[in-house]
């Protein structure tokens, strides 16, 4: 738990809520930017109702002195622009007796679901305050109030607001006055939520969403063709790529459906251009047939799956790690594929870049399991270094004698002829084929090609980045993806209380590396598997493909609620006493 002593807060969580159009996302983004300017780290998670426009919205903010990868267990304050449907966020914004629930008394009482937690109601007459300043808006009062509570310097807030109003400079004085009014009101609340001063900034810092990070990682890795079909919550990745790709000589095509988008990237990659698409569960379901084509025809592609609640249309705008099974098992035939999972927002960049490299090097499809939490959350992060890992395809040189596209090699990777190369014309085929690529239904060729395709993935050295392994101890938390932040924080709390636990966050899910996991779990006698889905899909995979030492427990629940640090911490401490 975070400490509550005055002026010592290293981390504060604030939820800004309001109905659609109330401007809470704008206020949240500006608060995050001001905090970043002042040298703090931070995270803003977007939550909204199902309405396209006009629904309730919440910016779930955490500002801290150190890098953070998850929200905290509770919120220190909820600041509402209005109360319209704000009760719907009650599960996502847990309050307690030390929390504040701030809102406009002229718009009614704070919903009971919040006040019954014991949170202290603070009256902030937003409408009156905004009305007193012609041309201002309540959300700017909220911004000023929140910045005041957290102790974010006024000049930083004003600077980011001025920057954002570049094109509407005439609105600036009113906005600044509203911010000042909010700040003055917050002064009455003392400095209980004031953040400790940030350490001097020595690194280059970025403000980035997981969707942007994955898109930019793909560009760093060499992707120059993207086919796009819009789907929540992956759309922003594609929208980032649309203007970015042409600047580096690439192109994005909007496809008529996901069947087309994946086949388009296969076509582009067959033509020699590293290619990617991004989707969510429903799109991934449609893409499974062509993923198998990429396996059989050995065409490198990358599919970023920004996971959301499923099955079917599920819960489109909320996070869940429930596409594990379809990613790992969801193709017909024996179809080895790469499945990778970034474990932080900046790692969306690094892991997608790595996925491009692996797909290209191994001439296979790679699925990157991001999720809505990563994709749509915006964070302050140290600039992710360029790992320099780029697409390097084994290409057949012109004039090779007796060229065989699917030649059986020791590594399993065969030189690929790029259309345009004289003398190597061949047909890439989803039918089982001979080494030359000629369709074949013979047993020997089927076995040889199946083994080759399996070998090229199995024999590859994936290096240390296959997982993040931290700490020691006989209890290990084995997890992946967006649960990693909560698990890491839980382990740190346990360690502070004298309980040692180990973190294994798997970045490479497939192909399975049982020996690497066994080495990571050396000396472990209790394994806690943490994941955000109902059925324990990750646990089932671990059970099927890996040897887990000692006792195994599963801690899981589905979205939309995140796995919070305290949930994992409780599991660790409770088990450590057993």
């Amino acid at each position: 738990m975070t400490t509550k002593s005055s002026s010592k807060r290293t981390s504060v969580c604030v939820a800004l809520c309001g109905s659609g159009g109330a401007g809470v996302m704008t206020a949240g983004n500006l608060l995050l930017e001001a905090a970043a300017q002042a040298g703090w780290y931070g995270l803003m998670v977007r939550s909204s109702g199902p309405q396209i426009r006009g629904g309730e919205a919440a910016a779930l903010m955490r500002i801290a002195t150190h890098p953070i990868d998850c929200l905290d267990d509770r919120f220190d304050a909820l600041v509402a622009v209005d109360w319209q449907n704000i009760h719907r966020f009650a599960d996502e914004v847990p309050l307690d007796g030390a929390s504040l629930v701030v809102g406009d008394p002229d718009q009614g009482e704070a919903p009971e679901v919040y006040t019954k937690t014991g949170a202290r109601a603070v009256k902030l007459p937003l409408k009156q305050m905004a009305k007193a300043i012609p041309g201002s808006w309540p959300n700017m009062v909220v911004l000023g109030f929140a910045a005041g509570l957290l102790g974010i310097p006024a000049d930083k807030v004003k600077a980011v607001v001025a920057q954002s109003l570049k094109k509407g400079a005439e609105q600036l004085p009113a906005s600044l006055a509203a911010i000042e009014a909010g700040r003055t009101a917050a002064a009455g609340e003392g400095d209980a939520l004031a953040l400790a001063a940030p350490a001097p900034v020595t690194s280059r810092r970025w403000l980035i969403t997981g969707n942007q990070a994955a898109g930019f990682g793909a560009i760093r890795g060499g992707v120059r063709f993207v086919a796009a079909y819009p789907i929540t919550p992956a759309t922003e990745l594609l929208e980032y790529m649309a203007p970015a790709l042409p600047q580096v000589g690439g192109v994005l095509v909007q496809a008529e459906d996901e069947l087309a988008s994946i086949n388009m990237i296969i076509g582009a990659s067959y033509g020699g251009v590293p290619a990617l698409t991004a989707t969510a569960g429903p799109g991934l379901s449609l893409m499974t047939e062509a993923l198998g084509l990429a396996v059989a025809a050995e065409v490198p592609i990358v599919v970023v799956d920004v996971m959301r609640g499923g099955p079917s249309t599920g819960i489109p705008a909320k996070s869940e790690q429930s596409d594990v099974s379809i990613a790992l098992w969801g193709l017909h035939g024996d179809a080895p594929r790469l499945v990778l999972a970034p474990n932080s927002i900046p790692d969306c960049l690094t892991t997608t870049q790595w996925a491009v490299h692996l797909a290209e090097a191994l001439q296979a499809p790679a699925i990157v399991l991001s999720d809505q939490f990563f994709g749509q959350a915006r964070t302050v992060t140290d600039r992710p270094e360029d790992t320099g890992v780029v697409a390097e395809r084994l290409v057949a040189p012109a004039g090779a004698e007796g060229y065989k596209r699917y030649a059986v090699t020791e590594s399993g990777v065969s030189p690929m002829a790029i259309p345009g190369t004289p003398g190597l014309a061949y047909t890439a085929d989803g039918l089982e084929h001979s080494e030359r690529g000629i369709p074949s239904s013979g047993s020997a060729e089927h076995r040889t090609q199946l083994a080759k395709r399996e070998r090229k993935l199995a024999a590859h050295d994936y290096g240390a980045q296959w997982a993040d392994i931290e700490g020691d101890g006989e209890i290990a938390v084995v997890t992946f993806g967006s649960c990693t932040g909560a698990a890491r924080e839980a382990i740190a709390r346990a360690r502070a209380e004298g309980v040692n636990a180990r973190l294994v966050s798997m970045r490479l899910l497939a192909p399975a590396r049982p020996k690497l996991l066994a080495a990571a779990l050396e000396g472990v006698d209790r394994v806690l598997v943490v994941e955000q889905n109902h059925g324990g899909q990750f646990l089932r995979y671990l059970r099927a493909e890996f040897e887990l030492p000692g006792a195994v427990r599963s801690y899981r629940h589905p979205g939309p609620l995140p796995i919070r640090p305290e949930e994992v911490h409780w599991q660790i401490t409770e088990w450590s006493r057993a």
Partner: protein, 282 residues
Amino acid sequence: MNDVKDEMRPGAALQPAAFKSDYKPIWCPGCGDFSVLSAFTKAFATVGKKPEEVAVVSGIGCSSRIPAYLTSYGFHGVHGRALAAATGLKVARPDLTVVVAGGDGDGYSIGGNHFLHACRRNVDMTYVVMDNHVYGMTKGQPSPTTEPDWQSKLSPSGTGLRVFHPLVVALAAGANFVARAFSGDPNGVAAILAEAIRHPGFSFVEVLSPCVTFRPEQRNWKQAVHPAPVEPTNDPAQAARRILTDDGFNVGILYRGDRMVYAPPVGKGKKKPADLERGFEV
């Protein structure tokens, strides 16, 4: 023997034989697709391409087997998605000549949505459908172009469904070149195909190609076809009227448009990935 010398001279047009492969087609004797295969090789020679400059993309079905029977780059993908794969290939590699081949089931049924959007998108490629009004590879089921009263194991009383009209659909959806050909006249197919390849944008060539195994009555197509009695038009309304009112055996180039071709520039942007980082800086 001059042919051989010509082939060895750089820049000289190749002979059709240069585009043949040594693999024996799986098609039934008498299948119309043999002639279409030979027309492909003639058309490629006519337009003066080299095997490495051509990519033939297909889906699944009897006619979709054609890439393996050609010496050119080939891509034999999944059922119905050839146009999507070809679109990705051509947009990423505008230097290649991309030809898509398939059948009526592949193109009009499972691939119907891609057909509409390929016409509409108007990427510079050529789509050849070998239409025999039947699923042959699965041994005789009705396709979208099968007559409503045609009986089969899967449609014991016929489908009772209107036939799909690919030419008028292609025209309405935005194809830039629309033609009908008949496999019984390989030189005619080759000539139309060469025109289709040369014409910018999405060219659609419907080739009536009999299935003598499951639709033996299609042998009579030879007597039914006749050359289109008119010159190609660039007026879609006129073309539509012709196509809708002809007898379905009117062979020739029916529409030659000047619609805007989709060709986003590739390779023009010269920035380095690092140049894009500024947008993320605090």
